[in-house]
Structure formats: structure tokens, C-alpha cells
């Protein structure tokens, strides 16, 4: 068997090894690359920058541990910026395994800015119901979440009474912005369909890189005011708020991984056409 034939029928574990080396190397040597913000990420950034101190946002943290690698950096960066701007946060999740992730994110960021639970941020927890819950939140948050993640009645949380002129925060429109970080269903598309269209609440979203192209039509139509796509999106946002985190750190590794895949495609095609010329290619 010639070299090109051996390459063409290479055991995929060698490819896995090459990928592992390509992704690990930049992390080991602490390689850093400058990050350029895309127009969609810029929209995400600008919508958060428009918020004033005391504004309330609804944070829909809809992902589970599978999406942690891509979306945790995004969530942490967003929380950091919102706390820094003294924006108040009402957070919840529609994914059963999502609540502890939001709790950990709060616990990582809130102490940096001396934020107090119940005054500056609230964790409503998880509710099953998907789109039904989204629509219900547009009508009454208390009907959906009578108590928070820790079992405290919402009425006893000062944040839930910090709407305009001291009015209660009782529906999504009592907040200024919907910030959605999601990885699948229910997620960005459902929030756009059920909430953005129905209640006209401005919305920005962070999602997995694989889903981002699907939401470009919503960005172009104005239904989404900003979009972060995957770890690259997280890196772009971290760069814009000057808070380098796992997003920026991961960019070198992701860059090398992408280059490796491109080289693999080129190599795969080269050996295929070479072997075909020799009359020995696999179908």
C-alpha cells in the first residue's frame, strides 16, 4: 500500500490525536490572538451599553452542562458587564439542568461588585413548559415563578419591586431587555417567536456557534438586536468590554483547530484525487 493509500484509509484515531495536539498546544503555551468584533456581536454589546444603572433585564439562561464550554464564558462576561453597570438582573432557565449553572455564574460574578441577592439579582430557577412558560412570563412572572430558586416568595425580594416608579416587576415588558443565552430548544428561536413578536421586548442572544447562522435572518430583520455565536462570540464580547476570559483564551486553540480541519480537508482531497489518478482510490 502506498503512502497516499495509507493516508486515505487512516484510522480516525490518528485524526483525533492531531486535533488534540492542535487544540492543546495554544493552551499550554498561553498563545493569545487579537479578536475582531463582528457586526452582530457589536449589536449585542451596544444594547447592553445602552442600559442605565437601575434598569432591569430578564436573563434567560437556557443551556445545560453540554453547552457549558461555549456559553459559560458568554454568560460570565454578560453578568460581569451588567453588574459593573449596576443593572439589575432577573434570571431563570427553561432547561431542567440549567439552574445550577446560572447559580454558579451568579456566585462567580456578583461578589466582585458587592452585589446582593434579592436586591441586585434574582434566580427564579427552572420551570417546565417551554413556549408556554415564555408566553406566560410575558403576562405574569409571579404566576409562573411564585417563589425563586431558593423557595423565597417573589414579593419579599426587593428587586421585584424596583420597576419604574417603584412598580413591581411582574411581566417581561417591565424589564428593559431580554438577554438570552441558549444552546438548543427551547432557545433563541422560540424566544423570538413567542416573546419578541408578541410583546415587542428588545432582545439580544448568545448561542452555540452551530446555531448562529440560523439566527442571522432574525438579526437582519431587527428581531434580534445582537447575536454572539459560540466561543468566538464570547471572545468578541470579552474583548469589547476589556475583560479577557475563557473566550479570548480559547480563541488560539479554536483558531488552530479550524486551521487543522482545513488542512485535513485539503489533505483528504489531495490523497483522494492522487489515488484516483493512480486508479486505486476508495469510492
Amino acid at each position: 500500500m502506498s503512502l497516499t493509500q495509507r493516508i486515505e484509509s487512516l484510522d480516525r484515531r490518528w485524526i483525533f490525536l492531531v486535533m488534540l495536539v492542535a487544540m492543546s498546544f495554544p493552551l499550554i503555551v498561553h498563545m493569545k490572538l487579537p479578536v475582531r468584533a463582528s457586526p452582530e456581536a457589536r449589536g449585542f454589546y451596544e444594547n447592553i451599553e445602552k442600559l442605565q444603572a437601575g434598569d432591569v433585564v430578564y436573563l434567560a439562561s437556557d443551556y445545560d452542562p453540554g453547552g457549558k464550554a461555549e456559553l459559560d464564558p458568554m454568560l460570565l462576561a454578560v453578568l460581569d458587564r451588567l453588574f459593573q453597570k449596576n443593572v439589575k438582573i432577573v434570571g431563570a432557565t427553561l432547561w431542567p439542568a440549567g439552574s445550577p449553572l446560572l447559580e454558579r455564574a451568579y456566585k462567580a460574578e456578583a461578589p466582585k461588585y458587592n452585589k446582593v441577592y434579592g436586591v441586585d439579582y434574582v434566580h427564579l430557577g427552572f420551570k417546565e413548559g417551554k413556549e408556554n412558560v415564555m408566553v406566560q412570563l410575558g403576562k405574569s412572572i409571579r404566576e409562573v415563578f411564585p417563589v425563586d430558586y431558593y423557595g423565597t416568595p417573589l414579593d419579599s425580594l426587593p428587586l421585584m419591586h424596583s420597576g419604574l416608579n417603584g412598580k413591581p416587576i411582574d411581566k417581561l415588558n417591565d424589564t428593559k431587555l431580554l438577554v438570552n443565552i441558549s444552546i438548543g430548544y427551547p432557545g433563541t428561536k422560540e424566544w423570538v417567536q413567542q416573546v419578541r413578536s408578541r410583546f415587542n421586548l428588545p432582545m439580544i442572544s448568545g448561542c452555540a456557534a452551530v446555531s448562529a447562522p440560523e439566527y442571522f435572518p432574525y438579526v437582519q430583520s431587527g428581531q434580534l438586536s445582537g447575536l454572539l455565536g459560540g466561543l468566538a462570540g464570547a471572545a468578541e464580547y470579552e474583548e469589547m468590554i476589556d475583560r479577557p476570559g475563557w473566550g479570548v483564551t480559547g480563541m488560539a486553540a479554536q483558531s488552530l483547530a479550524h486551521v487543522t480541519i482545513v488542512l485535513l480537508i485539503v489533505l483528504g482531497n489531495f490523497v483522494y484525487f492522487w489515488n484516483r489518478r493512480q486508479g486505486v482510490s476508495r469510492p
Partner: protein, 225 residues
Amino acid sequence: MLRREVPILLAMIVGWFMVGEFFFPWAEPAGTEVQQMAVIITATGVILGVANVIRINLLKVSRRERDWRYSILLLVGLGVMALLGTILPVVHAAVHGGGWKIGPFNLVGITDGTLFDRLYNRVYVPLSATMYGLLAFYIASAAFRAFRVRTMDATLLAVAAIIVMIGRVPLGEKIWDGIPLLTDWIMNVPQLAAKRAILIGAALGGIATGLKILLGIERNFLGSD
């Protein structure tokens, strides 16, 4: 008649009412009530789902079917997490007990500092994240093996894919300033047009099926005819 006609009628009545609620504001209060019922029914469905999981896996163990040992593992994991997250908190609240701890971990509840949270973060999170992380390797393997530029379409696809892959990471700008701009153009023009068309098509398909259910034409959600 009860088995098929009643569910179909129920689906039609509730379905049409909810469609109407979207267009007629005076129906909104009643629509809100129906949505709350839907939230409760969906939540109840989770309980049925868990009961089904237990039933199927117990059957597997009792009949010593293939991989029955994994079913034991599943049932133990389910039992432990249910005990810590649901049963113990209810019992604790009922007996108004003090702190129930094992080592440094609170046995009651699911929040930070509890044994449930520890198991979630040390077992479930790494397992789940690892499975998702496998995709990177599988993509590389699939790209090497299957991405063949045999036709003009495939060539265009390969070129676009390479530009976007390089343009979406910082390395692209380092290689050439124009790559990110080209990437943005590909994502915002041809890609977006195609995605929008597929989105419209898929949405129409979904709406049409929904309409068929509302009109009682589609009955496959009940099982075979």
C-alpha cells in the same frame, strides 16, 4: 369512539381557542388560564416520563435483557438524585429537622453547598460537557473522510467553508484583512438567503401540520390509524 374521537375533539377545541386568543384580545384572560394548565400538564408529563424510565429499566433488569447492568446504574443514579433533590427536602420540611449533613455537604436541597450540587458538578457536568466536546473530533474525522470536491457544487462549498472557518477566528485577520470581510459577506448574503428560504419552508410545513391537527385531518399523534 372515546379512544380517538375525544382526544381529537379536545385538540381541535383547545387548539382553535388558542389560535383565536392570539387575534382576539378579549379572549386573553381565558387563554392565560389555558396556558397555565398547559404548564401544569407539561410538568406532570415529566413525572410520567420518570415513571416510564423506571418501569422500562426495571423490566430490563428483571428479564436480564442486553446491558441490564447499565439499567441498575441508571436506576441507582436516578434514585440518589431524586432522594437528595426531591424526597429528602420534603421529608426535612415535614419533620422541621435541623441541619442534615454528610461531611461538609448539606443533604437537603439542590443549591450550592449541597451533596446534590456536588454530584451535579463533579459527575453530570464533566460527563455532559465531554460528550459535547467529542463533536470537535468527529467533525475533523468527517471533514477528512467525506469532504470531497468531486463536483462544482462541492468545490464552492469547500471554498466557502474554508473562508468562513478561517474568517471566524482571529487567525483569519492575521493572514489577510479581507478574510473577515469575505466571511461576513458569505454569512450575511448567500448563507442568510438560503437559511431564510429553508426557515420559511420548514415553518410552512410546521404550520400546515398544525392546521391539519386543528382541522382533525391529522391523527397520527394518537398512534396509527
